[in-house]
Amino acid sequence: MSFLITATVAYLIYLVLTIGGSAVLLWNRAELVIGAVCAVAAGALLKNRFIGKNLRMLNPARWFAFLVYLFPFFFAMAKANIDVAYRVITGRINPAIVKINPNLKNDLSLTILANSITLTPGTLSVDVDEKTNELYVHWINIDPKVLKDMPRDYHPICDSFPDWARRIAE
């Protein structure tokens, strides 16, 4: 099963790379044959690495959620960049490293959350606890309200990204 999925994904990547021959729809006939051979080789080599035993990502609703997620993500990214540009020009910073616990269990969802945090509002994921999945986040301009209680509230740091990550990959 994992071989089939990996080979299908490899075949799709190969087809996207070779658009333009236009004998069958957009592709040459030869590209289809060579792509099938390459996809079988890639699936046989990488079936354990690419997907492993986790078949949760097969659900199309998750792909749709990922596509919808790109829009709030892009807006947050634009906001973050304007904020960083303001701090570059004025030089006003107030940094700290805080620990948050987003309650994610999956590796893939944690990866999506950490990469989103790295690219959005003034934060940068520094370290991850391998056992408890807690993230350590470097924050360029800290909110004093967060510092009061010890299990930190993650909403000011990454407002609804953990919910999105849970919806996509768990």
Binding site: A10, Y14, L17, N28, A30, E31, C38, N115
Partner: protein
């Protein structure tokens, strides 16, 4: 490295492998070829070595398999070269035949992969040899520096 780097390296390796195969198989119509594509895939293996540690990678990439891949690459190259010996050594005997023997189209086009005769097969041989050679060199160095031996 951390869990995030390991996950991303696993997912990215598929893209690197497919892209390297694309560069190898299109060596006669695009920039690239056997050496370049093989270097791309070998760099993917180098990325896996740094993400997982050489001890983990040693379990899935054994020395015997790497030497088998390297020898089969050299053997493919030599066999294709000898197959045209009826006329002359390295003769391009596939021109006009049904495998890789298409006529190149004229005008502006992105390039037809079904041309070139024996050149794509030779590129494949060179690519297999480069993949096995470069990744074996880096894997042996990494194993040596972390105090293990290569079987």
């Amino acid at each position: 490295m951390s869990k995030i780097v390991r996950t991303v390296a696993n997912q990215l390796m598929l893209f690197v492998l497919v892209f390297g195969l694309y560069v190898i198989m299109h060596g006669h119509v695009t920039p690239g070829g056997g050496f370049q594509g093989g270097a791309v895939i070998a760099s993917g293996v180098v990325m896996l070595i740094v993400a997982f540690g050489s001890g983990q990678i040693k379990k899935s990439l054994r020395e015997r398999r790497l030497s088998l891949v390297e020898s089969s690459g050299a053997l493919l190259f030599i066999l294709v070269a000898f197959a045209g010996i009826g006329t002359v050594f390295f003769y391009n005997f596939l021109v006009g035949s049904r495998i890789f023997g298409g006529i190149p189209p004229t005008g502006s086009n992105p390039g037809d992969v079904w041309t070139g005769g024996v050149i794509p097969l030779m590129n494949l041989g060179v690519g297999l040899k480069v993949i096995a050679g470069l990744s074996a060199a880096v894997l042996a160095l990494a194993l040596f520096s972390s105090g293990e031996e290569m079987e």
